[in-house]
Amino acid sequence: MHILYRRKWLIAAGLFPALFFYVVFALYPIVNSFYYSFFKWDGFTQMHWLGLGNYAELIRDSVFWNSLRNNVYIVVTSILLQIPAGLFFAIILNGRILKGRALFKTVFFMPVVLSTVVISLFWSMMYNYQVGLINSFFRIVGMDSWVQNWLGEPRFSIFMICIMIIWQYSGFYMIIFLAALQNISSEVLEAADIDGASGLRKVWSVTLPMLSDTIFTSIALCISGSLRTFDIIYVMTKGGPNHATEVMATYMFQSTFSAGRYGYGSTISTAIFIVSFLLIVISRMAIRKLQR
């Protein structure tokens, strides 16, 4: 029983400012988005009730499915590559193999704090067909057949974006795993040493099981993070060529603000919300099953 109990009006007053901002500018829009999705609306004139019309159109809209598929590509490549890369960096940096660990940590983590816009401009200078670093390198060493229009080729442009995203966030998972490794007592690892476990063996049977919780948290973070992909695409490709790099958020933006279809854009917003929610629930359930 707390001594500061029963100060209802004071508690309400203390919570009010935060709740006000949060409800009015974060929760209310989500609810509103759902409401607008039942209308045909250009944002200015009369709204027309469509019922489930927008949803029927969305289900038949191949561009939407294409953008959802690109989101899934980003989620899958992130989980399969970012987390192992982060783990690998963390385990090596936690050991005594390298000198100058602080420098490695600083450099690998840096992309996480840079704005995505800067990163996008930065990578444009890597990928550029004419003067980009990658093509310039191939031309100079005489491997002209390797020169590609990296972002303009629908067959692999989305994977070029995935590479950037992996580069951007691997350092984030490295830091998370490093923090988790600090929590594993060195005694456990020393005990494994005395038992004669070699490097790889030690990682597999001692380190990884102890990190399992952190790995699961990271997967959840990966999923919610990947669904937030917008800035990179907006700056680099605007979803092109021919929707090859479109993701749900950019398609929503384009439908609403370029095509002026507020109702349909809101329907895509609702779809983003539903997909995020489903993926998080499914991953939660899968994680619970695995942890048993």
Binding site: L4, A18, F21, Y36, G43, L133, T217, D231
Partner: protein, 280 residues
């Protein structure tokens, strides 16, 4: 090979060292390449992409600073980022104080509501928020971005501060009550000073979120005088699409302060990022 005097380093370790050195170079070299080329002309870049600049050409910088309005965007970003962070921290700390140190019926519901906010896909709110702000006549004002920036950073801040505050001993407040202090005095004099480390972390994380934010700025701001740095940079790549060395100068102008800020505050930053994800 003399194995008596030197300590033998296993081959796998040598390989790892090489691999990491290579990764380090792969990360650093592009930055160096961009900085070097920002001092050259587009023509030079086209003909010899890997030459050092012959003389330091500052015209890209003056052009980037003037035509792209980078100075103004810097100022705008700074004002809105700092203002939003201060509001977020004050009202977030207040809410966290009541959610952590008091008992009331709706406590876990309210806390859960805030935590849920970390999972909201922000892009799903862009359209309705745009309409809402239009109806409130809040588009294109000096403080337009404050509202979404505060709203979407509160969940993280409240979560951080509540986690930090929960272990504080109960007799903290009890001693103060014996002295006859009111609740707000306890918050201001006892709790707030103790929150300092968590507040520093929350400040840095929230500031970075706002400083780097593009989507809300893109949708809610279209007057040039009010644009933020990410928005200005995103437009720059469109306006000066084929002037690469100018873009490189602009990227360098933004990179250098960010890297400095990061290196100075690195310790707080990494601690903050991991505090939520790792159960210690």
């Amino acid at each position: 090979m003399n194995m008596v005097t030197t300590k033998r380093i296993p081959a796998t370790h040598r390989l790892m060292q090489l691999l990491f050195l290579l990764l380090l170079l792969l990360n650093i070299y592009p930055i160096v390449w961009i900085i070097l080329n920002s001092f050259r002309t587009d023509k030079e870049l086209n003909v010899h992409p890997f030459r050092l600049p012959e003389q330091l050409l500052w015209s890209n910088y003056s052009k980037a600073w003037e035509t792209a309005n980078l100075g103004l965007y810097f100022f705008n970003s700074l004002v809105i980022s700092v203002a939003a962070v201060l509001v977020t921290l004050v009202i977030g700390a207040l809410a966290a104080f009541f959610l952590s140190r008091f008992e009331f019926k709706a406590k876990s519901f309210v806390f859960g509501l805030f935590v849920l906010g970390m999972l909201i896909p922000i892009h799903a709110t862009l359209v309705p928020l745009f309409i809402e702000m239009k109806q409130l006549h809040l588009l294109n004002t000096r403080f337009t971005l404050l509202f979404p920036y505060v709203a979407f950073n509160l969940p993280l801040v409240i979560y951080l501060l509540v986690s930090f505050m929960n272990p504080f001993p109960k007799d903290l407040e009890e001693a103060a009550i014996m002295d006859g202090s009111g609740v707000m005095t306890i918050f201001g004099k006892v709790i707030f000073p103790m929150l300092r480390p968590a507040l520093v972390t929350a400040f840095i994380l929230t500031f970075l979120n706002n400083w780097n934010e593009l989507s809300f700025a893109l949708v809610l701001i279209n007057e040039d005088e009010l644009k933020t740095l990410p928005l200005g940079l995103a437009n720059l790549s469109g306006q000066h699409a084929n002037n690469y060395t100018l873009q490189m100068a602009a990227v360098t102008i933004v990179l250098i302060p960010t890297i400095l800020f990061y290196v100075l505050l690195q310790k707080h930053l990494t601690e903050g990022m991991t505090s939520g994800a790792v159960k210690g």
